[in-house]
Symmetry: none
Subunit: 129 residues, 2 copies
């Protein structure tokens, strides 16, 4: 599960992590993405995570539940999560297929996502650092 | 599904889209409305959508579920949705038929709907633009 090239990147920007998925990930790659991200939240003391899925033209049930899980896991580690860049066709398909993102927050793009996180974190004690 | 005259209009007003349905739409027209609206949210970077159904004297189960889906899809694209202008007879019939709008927000008319959206978006970072 740790073999092969990384098909995603996780960059730090201030108190936030920006995770971009570059191409469709298979299930084991999605789990690797999940583990790397949750580990990095602690290492970088991140207060928030933006997951950019703009490159994806499909979000199936496993990917959706993995994203939902990441949101829950990140919350347990003290970080908020926003998913950005869901394409129109992907949004339509997800709703028609009944895939739910639960309490996961969503925003149009990276810019909106970072603004939303900034707002969330400003409302918490760590935002005043 | 893209043939024929448009029986709805989608106009931009600031950070919001105002979508008016002019006459009863059949199922394929409703789906066209749905797709156009979700696409325009990204193109216009809309933070909210008002759907005006004041011209409709019937909202059947397909129309109701389409509106509910639009609310879910718009949320995935980072926009809030408010349905306005549900006529008294329509509201009575919807409840008697057990048609549910789920988490979709509703307001009396366009003015109230825009005020509600303004309130929702003011609570989010983009509202400060």
């Amino acid at each position: 599960m740790t073999a092969g090239p990384r098909l995603f990147s996780i960059l730090r920007q201030g108190a936030f992590l920006i995770a971009s998925i570059h191409t469709a990930l298979d299930d084991s790659q999605l789990l690797r993405f999940q583990e790397d991200l949750i580990t990095m939240i602690g290492r970088d003391r991140a207060r928030g995570v933006v997951i950019d899925v703009a490159a994806l033209d499909v979000l199936d049930s496993f990917a959706t539940s993995t994203l939902r899980d990441i949101g829950d896991m990140a919350r347990l580690r003290g970080a908020a999560t926003v998913v950005v860049g869901i394409q129109p066709d992907v949004a339509i398909a997800m709703v028609r297929l009944g895939l739910r993102t639960g309490v996961l927050e969503t925003a149009l793009d990276l810019e909106e996502g970072l603004a939303l996180l900034g707002d969330r974190v400003a409302g918490s004690p760590a935002g005043r650092r």
